[in-house]
Structure formats: C-alpha cells, structure tokens
C-alpha cells in the first residue's frame, strides 16, 4: 500500500505546485495590468482647470466659430443662437482640425475629412461627427467642461445649448 501511495502523493503535490505557480503568474499579470492602466485621479475637485469659462454670450456672433487653443475645443454658435463645444480632434485618426472661416467648415489636413459647423461629417474618411463637450450657461456666461468628450455618430438638435428657453 505504501509503495503505491507515494507516487500518488507525489503526483498530487506536483500538480498542486503547478497550480500554485499558475496562480502566482496570474496574480503577477493582473498586478502588471493594473499598474499599467492609466490612473484615474481620485481627488474630487481636481482637474477643475479643465472647465473653461468661454465668456459672455454676446461675445459670440451667431453662425461663427471661436477657437480655444488651451482648451483644445471650438465654441460654435449656430444661426439660431445655440451653442456647441466641438472637439478639435478628428474622429478619423486624431489629427487636429482647423476651422476654415471662408468655406465655413472644419477641414482635416491629414486625410481630407471635412465637417460642418455642427461637427457633422461633410467628407469621409472620418466615420462619425466630431466629439462635443458639455456646456453650461449661467448668468449669460458660457462654460465648457472638457474633462469628458461625448462621442456621437451625428449631430442632433438636442445637443445644442441655448442661453434661454426657446419660445
């Protein structure tokens, strides 16, 4: 009996060690991934410098686009007086799109995508409209929160922010 028990125990212990080793490797891999994942800030109220005060409503003419270089966005005021904060990052491969005043469109220099004043795609290869940022208007002052861009496939009327309720 004893001579048979020994190999069994040995086999069991071998398997046991292999499993333990596997667990250790898995732990290490998990730690490595957690370590490498871009860290999120845990302090509340941080990154408030990413909320930009764009200025008073009157500063922006209807049907115009104003660039905010530091905030990396454009503030577009549509013809009806509504506001849209549009990301300058092309949705194709991430180039910066300049606003073409004369042609009234955003034209990407990298692969020729073009977008209208609402950020809608005029010309491919960009697959979807430019991202937007949330806007708040308090006391006729426009503020843009650039912490989290909002992805969208196309422009919709609900995305526009007005400083007063439409009649």
């Amino acid at each position: 009996m004893k001579s048979e028990a020994a190999p069994n125990r040995r086999r069991f212990l071998n398997i046991f060690w292999i499993i333990l080793g596997g667990v250790a490797v898995a732990e290490f891999v998990a730690v490595a991934f957690a370590f490498l994942r871009p860290a999120k800030s845990k302090t509340p109220g941080e990154n408030t410098d990413l909320i930009f005060t764009a200025g008073a409503v009157e500063r922006f003419r209807p049907n115009s686009v104003t660039a905010f270089v530091r905030g990396k966005f454009y503030l577009a005021r549509l013809e009806d007086g509504g506001f849209l904060a549009i990301s300058r990052t092309c949705t194709h491969l991430g180039c910066s799109v300049p606003w073409m005043e004369k042609e009234m469109k955003f034209a990407c220099p990298c692969h020729g995508s073009a977008f209208d004043i609402t950020g809608n795609v005029l010309e491919a290869p960009a697959p979807r409209a430019l991202d937007i940022y949330p806007i708040t208007i308090e006391n006729r002052i426009v503020k843009v929160d650039t912490r989290n861009p909002i992805k969208r496939s196309a422009f919709q009327v609900e995305q526009v922010v007005y400083h007063k309720k439409k009649a």
Binding site: L36, R37, P38, V69, K72, R88, H92, L93, G94, C95, S96, V97, P98, C108, P109, C110, H111, G112, A124, P125, P127, P149
Partner: protein, 460 residues
C-alpha cells in the same frame, strides 16, 4: 627558445601588469598558441567547429542575418550613448535632442548612426525573411525558427515605432498620433488598447514614458533572449540550408571546413563593409528633425512612418476595420502558418523551389506590379462604391465589398497559375506570397512618394 622567456624580476612595471593579466604569454610561443586556441574556442561557443563548405557561398544568405546582428549591436552601442543625453519628458525631449546635436561632441553623428541603423535594420530583416522564404529554409526542422524570426521582426518594428516618437518633433508627434489612432478601430478592445498604449486619452508625458520604456528596456531585453534562441535553433538544425540546384538531390557529400577562419573571416568582412556604409550614410545624411511638436497644428500632409505607409495607403481604399485590423491580422496569420502548411515537396536549399517556381515568381511579381497601380488609380478616380450603393453602410461598401473583390482576385490568380503551370502547392503558395508582398511594397512606395497634400495622388 630560451630568449623568449624573461625572468619576472627583469620586467618593467607595464610588462609586469601585462603578464599579470595574460600570464601565459610570458611563456614560450607554444603557450601563446594555446592562448589563441582558448580565444578561438570562445568564438566556437557561438559557432560550430566546422561548417558545410557550400553554405559559405555569399549568394545563399547574402550575409543578411549577420548584417542584422551587426546593426543590432550598433543600435545597442549608440542607444546606450544617447541614453546619457536624452530626457524623456515632453518639455525636455526636443530640447535635449537640440542640445545633443548642437553642443555634444559627435552628438549628431551618434544620433544619425542610431537612426539609419534602425531604419536599415528593418529593411535587412525583411530581406532576410524573404531569403529564408525563397530558399525554403522554413521546412522541418526549421519551422519554429521561422516563428521566432517573425516575433523578432515584430520586435524590431515596435522598436522603430516607439523610437519614432522620442524626438518629440512635429513629424514624431503626428505620425504617432495617427498610428495610435489606428488602434481605435480594433473591434471591442480598441479604445482600451489605445488608452493603455498612450497612457491616457492623448499623447503626452505618459506616452513618452511608456514608449521610452518599451524602446530602451523591453525590446532590447526581448532581443537578447530571442536572438541567441534563433541562432541556437540554426545550429540544432545542423547549420544553414545547403544550397542546391533544382535538379540536385538533397543528400550532399560531407565537405566540411573549419569555421575559423573560413566563416569568421567572411562574417568580419560583411560586418566591416556594413559598418563603413552606415558611417558614410550617417556623415552625409542627418536624421530628420522638424519643429517642436505642436498638438494644435497638424502638418499637411501628416504621414505615418515609412514602414506604415503601406497600411496608411490601404486606409485610403478600405474601411478602417479592414485596413487596420482584418487585413493585417489575416496577413500575420498567413505569415505564421507558412512553415506549417502541408507541402508536396521539401524544397530546402533550392532558390524559388524549382525552375518552374522561378518563372511563376516572375509572373506573380509582374502581375502585382501591373495590377496594384491600376487598382490604386481606379479607386482614386473611378470606383466609388459608397456613392453607387447609397443605402449600404460604409462597412459594406468600403469594407466587405472591396475586400471580397480583392480576395476573389487572389483566389483566381492562385487557381490560374496552378492550372497553367501544373504546379506543386509549394510553387503556387510561393507565387501568392510574391503577389501579396510585391503589392504591399507598391502600396508602401505609393504612400511614401506618390501622396501629397490632403493625401491626393501626386507625381513626385
């Protein structure tokens, strides 16, 4: 004999130090020979004692593997030197390169050698892979060594990409923006992967740290493990494939010659010529450096690094899901599976498998040279599936449909050559490989030289 042996008390200080390091040289010439043997056998740790005389022929390997080793050594040496000057943070990276070029003695030269070695290494490795393929050096027992080689090819590619960002100029910043932007289209994990590699939403301080770590630690460490493994597998396979004419039999007479000096001398010659060439190129041509990176201003045109120009060209013709994911993954799987397919004959050592294989290779290359530019021009000016099929989503009109047409074309080519030449599957598979590789090379050339402002087709 006696006059060669000096007594220790008659020696001056420098001789005493010298003999303390090499005590044997104090003895008779016979002992010096023993030292030479000792050093030679040190070399023989890396090399077999004897090699097949026929594998010494330059036109078997073109010295490509050895060249790759030399380039890697040069990259290690110059990279270590650059590491003493370069500062991997966005506010300092570009300035440290300027400092290196303007104030550090030989700084510009060292940077040039690193730059050209890195780029030329990619070409050499590609040619080495082609040589291995065309001499059938992937058949058993060399199957897995092909895979190790592919992994090292990817490592070299990764090293080139990560190094591309480090100068932090406009060229670097926007090329890497585009390359990492491509990851967004990987289905499912794309966005997560992009964030992981950029270290956040945008290219910034985290990205440069990550790229610096990959470029200067992870890739060199991988190569230090994979390279010896690769060479060891060559030895385990009994050395290189023995070159033979298509009509010759595989079994060869045993005509071995000592490695030292036959192989070693040849390797040293190739290495010296290559080093001289790299030095000459580095003296004449400076590594590019544009204005400091400006995240607000994309230059027009913004191009990917030259080795991705082919993928970028694909992107102009296919939906991103196909150009950036399905086609490259399919190609990678095809490359890995090359040694594991079932072949009718073992063609190890025969260039292009046979006389017929040679002819079919030429036909495939010519087909690709003719068809690819026609395809590019037609797609640029005539074909517009998106407009012709207005109801269909872009994935269908710009993705599935053109990919299906290309796939049908490749399959048709395969059946046509197989039938016309009554070929073995070695030869047919080889001709499809040639077709795809030449097509990709032409796409790359188009992307580098024939694309101008707004990625429009131009004549250079």
């Amino acid at each position: 004999m006696q006059e060669n042996t000096a007594m220790p008390d008659q020696l001056n200080l420098f001789q005493r130090i010298r003999y303390s390091i090499f005590p044997g040289t104090l003895q008779r010439p016979a002992y010096r020979d023993r030292y030479r043997n000792f050093f030679n056998s040190l070399i023989l740790h890396f090399r077999p004692r004897n090699v097949q005389q026929r594998t010494l022929r330059f036109t078997l390997t073109w010295g490509l593997g050895g060249m790759a080793v030399v380039l890697v050594c040069m990259l290690f040496a110059t990279g270590l030197m650059l590491k003493f000057v370069y500062q991997p943070v966005p506010d300092r990276a570009y300035e440290s390169i300027i400092h290196l070029q303007n104030n550090v003695l030989f700084g510009q030269l060292i940077r040039n050698v690193h730059h050209w070695s890195g780029n030329i290494l990619l070409i050499i490795v590609f040619l080495h892979l082609s040589r291995v393929f065309f001499t059938g050096a992937f058949h058993s027992p060399r199957q897995f060594n092909w895979v190790i080689g592919l992994v090292m090819f990817l490592a070299v590619l990764t090293s080139n990409i990560t190094g591309y960002l480090l100068p932090w100029d406009q060229l670097a910043f926007w090329a890497i923006t585009i390359c990492t932007g491509m990851l967004d289209y990987v289905p499912g994990i794309g966005e997560w992967l992009q964030k992981l590699i950029r270290g956040g939403n945008e290219i910034g301080p985290a990205t440069i740290s990550i790229f610096f770590a990959i470029h200067t630690a992870i890739i060199p460490a991988c190569l230090l493990v994979l390279m010896p493994w690769h060479f060891w597998r060559v030895r385990k396979a009994g050395g290189l494939v023995i070159p033979r004419r298509p009509d010759e039999d595989e079994d060869s007479e045993d005509d071995k010659v000592p490695t030292i000096p036959n192989l070693i001398l040849r390797e040293i010659v190739v290495a010296l010529v290559l080093i001289a060439a790299i030095m000459a190129i580095s003296v004449i041509f400076n590594a590019p450096l544009e204005a400091k990176a400006n995240p607000g201003l994309s230059p027009n045109p913004t191009k990917a690094p030259w080795y991705f120009a082919g993928v970028q060209e694909l992107l102009l013709h296919f939906h991103p899901l196909f150009a950036l994911f399905i086609i490259p993954v399919f190609m990678l799987i095809a490359l890995v599976s090359i040694p594991y397919l079932n072949y009718q004959t073992d063609t190890a050592g025969v260039w292009f498998a046979s006389h017929r294989g040679r002819r079919m290779t030429a036909v495939a290359a010519l087909t690709a040279v003719i068809i690819t530019p026609i395809g590019i021009i037609a797609d640029e000016f005539v074909i517009d599936f998106a407009a012709w099929l207005p109801g269909q989503p872009s994935v269908v009109s710009n993705g599935i449909l053109p990919a299906a047409i290309v796939l049908a074309g490749i399959s048709m080519f395969y059946w046509l050559v197989k039938k016309k030449y009554a070929a073995t599957n070695n030869e047919s598979i080889q001709s499809v490989f040639v077709l795809l590789v030449v097509a990709f090379v032409i796409l790359t050339i188009t992307g580098i030289w024939f694309r101008g402002k707004g990625m429009a087709l131009i004549w250079p």
